[in-house]
Structures are given as C-alpha cells and as structure tokens.
Symmetry: C2
Subunit: 469 residues, 2 copies
C-alpha cells in the first residue's frame, strides 16, 4: 500500500488522471509478457515529460519506494513485473519523435515511441534503423533500449546497442544526465550510453534517445531451404558465412516449429522437414542477386532437398513475417509458452539444438526451437500449462540444464531477452562471481538505495552451481 502522503505528492506532479491506484489499473500492470510472474504494484503513474520523471523519482527516492519503468511490457524475462508494493512508471505518454536529422543520419525520440513507427518514419526518407525485435509492432524503443533488443537482422547489422548514439536519462535520485550525442566517435569518459543499453531499467530511466540510421538497402530477396536433418542445415550456415556472404537474416526453425507456424500462417512451409533455413539478403540489386545465386548453390551442395525462392520482395516479407509470428503461432497450442533465449557461438548451433532435444526428451517436455542461426541465438520454447505444477517444475529443471549446456558450449543464458527476474538465478553461471560483484557495484554507483527495478538481474537466491558441471 502506498501512503496518503506519497499519493498526494505523486498526484501533485501528474494530476489524478495520470496517477492510478485502482485495482483494475494495478492488476493490468502486475505482469508482462513472461508467464509465471505476477506482482501487484501499489500504483501506476504516467509521466509526460523528463521533468515529471525527475519529480517522480525524487519522491520515490525520498521514500525509498521501488519503481519500475516500462513501455508495452512485451519483454520476456519478467523485467517489467513490478516490485512488491512498488510503483509502475509507464512511459507510453512520452511518445514523440523529436527530430529526424537527415544530414547526420540520426533520429531523436522519446522512449514511448513504438519501434515500428521509427522504422516506418525513417524508411520513408530512404533511411534504415536495422534492429527488428519480433515485438517491434508493439514494443517501445525505450523498452528495446532497456533490454538491448536484438532481432532477425542482428548478424549483419548488430542489435539495439549498435544504434544508440546518445541518451538522456534520469537517475534514481531524480538527477538528469545526457550521454553521447550525434557522434560516431566519442571517448569522453566511460561509455555510459552502451552501459545503459541493456541495463533493464536498473540503472536509470531513459527519457530520450538519439539513434543512428544508415542508408536503406536498395533491395532484398528471401528464400527458404528445406532439410531432412539438422546437421546439413547447420553446415549450410557455416558454409555461407565462410564464403564471406553475410545475409541480413539467417533464421532456423525445427520441425515442430515449422508445423505450428504453417498451421497458423499457411505460407507453404514443409511440415515433414527436420529443419528449414529462412535466408534473406539485402543491398544493391546486383549484389543481392549474386549472393542469392551463390546461397542457392551452397544450400544444394550441403544437402537442402528443396529451395523456395521468393519471387518478389513482398513474398519474402510474408515469409519473414511468418517467422516473426512464430511465437504467436506456438501460443495457440498450449495455454502457457515459456520462450528461452540461449546463445552459442554459431559453430555450436547443431550441438545446441541436439542438447535441447535431448533435455526435452529427458524431462518429457514439448520444446520447439527456432531462432537466429547466423548469430547462434536460439529460442527453445516450452509449450506447457501454468496450472500443471509438475510440468512447470520439470520445465524449470530443463531450462537450467539448457543454460548449463549453452555455457559449456561457450554461450550465454540470454542473447536478446535480458536477465530480469527469470534468469537472475543463473546469471552467475555466465559471469562468474567476481564480475557479478562488479556489476552490483555499478548498480550502486547509479542507484545507491536500490529503488530502480529491484530484484532484476541480481537475486539473493542464485541457483545452485550447475553451469560449471
């Protein structure tokens, strides 16, 4: 519960309409897109300016009140599940595009802008913002920055981190900082910009971002390659990259995922295949044609049984859209979907998928795997039911085994979804104890009281040491 004193102070900042403590609002902000996690916040507040964010954080700080910033809440690591009795600060009212700078190839936005809107805005001008998390139609850029969201184009173009040039952010105590600028080179002190990207709302609240844009590729072409086994698909990936061809997307789907996506989207995916690769290249038409020709040869050389080449850009877009909707497709099958995000060096993809399948069998679970083959980022997805505690427990054990396997293969527990609450118990397996202590020190430098999104990234109850086994 929130005291009447704090209520009055917060209402004085934003007015009654934008500070809510009614049960409906609190319940609808008690969860995010991650299943199994829910906590009722004490209140929900909607700032409309950096100054209001500063004032709200001053109040939170004064009363040591935990607070979590959020956009659409589409994240998959329980990162925006509120802290117990904390405040949820919803950033979606700060949703203006502040400037599109054509000369410097930058766009400056407030955190509540939908990422898709940024894409649409800049592409009209012949510019390109490459990061494309599958959630981009509904997720906000502030959330993307907080999570360092990736997407399908990560291999060729990098992730959100590679496109954030400057930030305005508010610290826990209400002080405002500005980092970076419209600058491709800036080494004036520690790189707070990159540190804030992916800090999951635990270091500061982002109130403005300047993003780097690049020229929009002139054309794109896609194809789908069919495989009767996993290794030939993985070999194809290695072979394409080893020839110096970096496709803009290089996606993998296992048989279960293919079947489910096809039943949902009806785009002609081969339900009998062990795996498919969805490959797209972009760039000048002559290069795209040349790369596509060589990719087709490589697919055949490595055992693809069939190739579907999109005849138009629109057809390619439809295929990729189906891949983006894999999660929605899978969600129709069972009541609960737990989507993981392990990443391995790309040479280990086949090994990792085999490990996932072995672990799924061991725990008698239905796990579909799809993901970004080019950058080793896989999304093993458990189809389950939150009401079945036994299956959920087996699922947790399976994912712990999957994390441990990823780390054994030189990988990480999360490639693009973040640590949040969900993976905090396993973080030390990847970072080691010493680096984790350093991270806690960094947290303290930004937020000495620990009011910003407490419980995320760091946990008092780490999982037992299985990752080093």
């Amino acid at each position: 519960m929130i005291s009447s004193e704090i209520q009055a102070e917060l209402t004085a900042i934003v007015g009654e309409k934008r500070f809510r403590t009614d049960p409906e609002t609190r319940i609808s902000h008690s969860y995010d897109a991650t299943p199994l996690y829910q906590t009722l916040p004490a209140g929900v507040i909607y700032p409309t300016s950096t100054e209001e964010v500063q004032d709200i954080l001053r109040i939170a700080s004064k009363h040591s009140m935990p607070i979590v910033g959020r956009g659409s809440g589409s994240n998959l690591s329980a990162d925006t599940v509120p802290p117990e009795d904390g405040l949820v600060m919803v950033m979606t009212h700060m949703n203006r595009i502040l400037e599109l700078d054509r000369e410097n190839h930058t766009i400056t936005v407030q955190p509540g802008v939908y990422t898709q809107k940024i894409h649409d805005t800049v592409e009209k001008e012949g510019l390109f913002y490459p990061p494309d998390p599958s959630s981009m139609a509904i997720s906000t850029i502030g959330g993307n920055i907080a999570e360092c969201s990736g997407g399908l184009r990560g291999l060729k173009y990098g992730t959100t981190k590679d496109y954030v040039l400057g930030l305005e952010a508010v610290l826990a105590n209400g002080e405002r900082i500005q980092t970076g600028g419209k600058l491709y080179k800036d080494v004036a002190g520690y790189d707070l910009t990159k540190l804030l990207v992916g800090s999951e709302g635990t270091l500061a609240i982002i109130t403005e971002a300047t993003l780097k844009l690049i020229p929009l590729p002139e054309s794109r072409r896609a194809l789908v390659a069919h495989y009767t086994d996993l290794d030939t698909a993985a070999r194809t990936v290695s072979h394409i990259l080893s020839e110096g061809i970096i496709p803009c997307t290089l996606e993998f789907m296992d048989q279960k995922t293919i079947q489910v996506v096809e039943e949902y989207a009806h785009i002609g995916l081969p339900k009998e295949m062990a795996a498919i690769l969805l490959i797209e290249q972009d760039g000048p038409p002559v290069v795209v044609e040349q790369d596509l020709r060589r990719i087709r040869e490589i697919c055949h050389e490595n055992g693809a049984t069939h190739l579907d080449v999109a005849q138009t850009e629109a057809e390619g877009t439809r295929v990729m859209a189906a891949r983006r909707n894999a999660l929605a497709a899978l969600a129709r099958l069972r009541p609960t979907l737990i989507l993981e995000d392990t990443t391995v060096p790309r040479s280990e993809i086949a090994s990792m998928v085999r490990e996932i399948n072995r672990i799924a069998d061991q725990y008698q679970l239905n796990i579909c795997t799809f993901g970004h083959a080019g950058d080793g980022n896989l999304h093993p997805t458990l189809l389950t039911d939150a009401r079945d505690p036994n299956e959920i427990q087996r699922g947790e054990q399976a994912f712990a085994d999957i994390f441990a396997a990823a780390i054994r293969l030189g990988g990480t527990i999360t490639g693009e979804h973040g640590v949040g609450l969900a993976k905090a118990p396993y973080l030390e397996w990847k970072t080691g104890r010493i680096a984790l202590e350093v991270m806690k020190g960094i947290k303290k430098a930004f937020d000495p009281q620990g009011i910003l999104n407490p419980g995320k990234i760091f946990t008092d109850t780490p999982s037992r040491e299985r990752g080093k086994a």
Copy 2:
C-alpha cells in the same frame, strides 16, 4: 621510491630480468607519445601471463601502489604517463595470437599483439579487422582497446568498441574476470566488455581479447578531390552521405596539412588548394565502381576543381598511407606537436574548422587541421615548441576554446584519443557533473583503492566552466 620489500615481492613473481628499477628503464617509460607530460615511475615490470598480472596486482593492491598498464605508449592523451612513484606494467611480452576461429569469424589475442599484425594475419584468410588507428603499425591491441581507438574507417565500420566481443581482464585486487565470448548477442548482465573498451586502464588490466572479424572487402578504390574553399568540401561530404553512399574512408586535410604532407611524402597533393578530401570505397567491384562514379559526379557538382582517381588499389593505398603519416610529416616542422581530437556532428565540420582557424588566429598559433570528415572527428594540430612557455600557454588556452566550441556545436572533447591526463580538466564540460560522479562510482566498483592509472580521466583540478559559455 619502491621499498625493498615490494621489490622482493615483485622480483619473486617475474624474476630480476623482467622487473627493472634502473634509471634508463624508468626514464624511457616516464612518457608516452603526448608532449609536455612526464613522470618518473618507481619501476617497470613485464608480465608474461595472466597469472603474473594477477600476482603483480595483488602486490600493488596490498601496498596501495599505483600502477599503469601500457603497450607501446603511442597514445596521445598522456594516458600511459606513469603515476608518481608508481609501477609501469608493460604488456608487450604477452604478444601471442591465441586463436583464429575461421568458423565463428573471431580472433583471440593477448594484449601485446601489434594491431597491424592482426590485420595481416586475418587478411591472409580473407577476413577483416576494420579498426585502423594511424598508429596501428606500432600500437598494441591492448592499448587500442583501452583507448577505444578509431581510425580512418570509423564512418563505415565503427571503432575498436564495435569489434571487441569478449575480454579477459584482471581487477585491481588481482581477481580475474571474463566478459562476453564468441557471441554476437549477449545480454547477460551489464555490458562490461563495452565498458572496459575505452576505460583507459583505469578499471582493469586487459589480458586477453576476442575480436569480431568480418569478410574482407573484395576491392577498394580511392580518389582525391581538390577544393578552393572549405564549404564546398564540407558540402561534398554531406551530399555523398545523403545519397546513401558510405565510403570506407572520407578524410579531410586543410591547406597547411596538405603542404606539409606533400613536402614529406611527394604523392602529388595540390599545395595551393584550401582543402582536399581523400575518399575511398571498398566492397564488391561492381558496387565500388558504381559508388566511385557517383562520388566523382558529386565532387564536381559541389565545386571540386580537380579529381585524382587512383588507377590501382596500390595507388590508393599509397595516398591513404600519406594521410596516415600526416602526424609524422607535421612533426618535422616544429619541435613539438600537440594533436587534438575534437569531434562534432558531421554537419558541423565546416563550422568547426572555421572556429579552429579563428581561434588559431586569435592566439597567433600555427594549427593544421586534418581528420575524418565522415564522422566529424577532426585533429587540429598545434605546431609549437615545448621550450616556449608563452606559446605553450597560448596553445592551452586555444585548445580550451576549441573544446568549448566543439561542445557548443554538439560535439565532444575527444573522439578517439581518450581523456587521459591531457583532457581530464575538460571532461565535465562534455559529461556534466552528475554523469562524471556516476563514472567515479563505476571506477570505485572496479578499483576501490584507486590504484589503476590514477589521475587519468578524473582530476581534482577541473578547468573553469568555459564549455557552457
């Protein structure tokens, strides 16, 4: 002076040959490539392994002894000038390439490897490590990482930061951490990798690095465009980029620099011109040809009086080599060269160059300007004489004015050389007080005793507030 107890402890780690306190060794490690700064260290130590680095830091930590890690000492911000009575740890004996991973496109190296050696090694395999600081023939990758070195190809390919995937580093207390990995996506906790890049040896000592490689571009072509005034050159830069062409290098030289470089290198630069642009594109031959054709048209459209197009790749390489040697050429003119590194949004290049010239006139100084026009990173270079205290003082005032002007134009005090001792007094002008305090907190999280390269980045005597004027 170093106590006999500490001497014995350090000698026990590395033996007598690799721990030196003789005057010759101490004097030759009392400075780096930055003029005007010199401090005698108490001793110089040469570790050959991570374990030795750990042991050395444990001793330094136990005795609160300041210590600076260094490679070739080629940095330009007095970052490796030793702390008073401190220890210099020279990393050049740790100079092995540990692994070239062709499948994952990574190379793992020790910090003492020369950057040029990395280029040569990977290019033989058809791979490419883009960062190319002008010092690369003599600078070490450890130094490049500590400084986040840039180079000529920054606009198209980014800087060192964009290619460091993972690090092994030793903290001040001797503990070892490992960050990242052969992973293009990794959001497991705060991004310590990117934080360590550019941290100037103040947070940890880097003992191993895994770098991202990309396919080697198939071809490259260069041209030189001549201009009778500054604005037409600047307009050309904007025009090229606005058409979606991102050259791999897009260098600018003012008249004074042209004259000096031509007298040094004899490559046919036009000594009567107000400015030249050196433009290079790389990629598939068909794209390079197409871009070059359009770039030539744009140069003409914007008032270039003459174009020299390199007829071969080798000829282009010679022209770019001349640019890389600008510093050496300038160094022949006066006894002391002070090279600065202000960076502005690229739309502000012409304004910044005009400001530099105005300030040079005001203080009656000889300042040549060259740099990376595509990313707004300029190197105003003062030709002076360290023995002339009056001129040196005017130089300092001029550079303070230049920093202030860069910040007014939305820029920064350093794009690729680092803060070090030289720019520490001005750092707050760029970051503001609050962000600087946060940085100090980060420093404390890594190095609570403050023994790692003390006095760099942070200073107790900041310059008076001129930047906000």
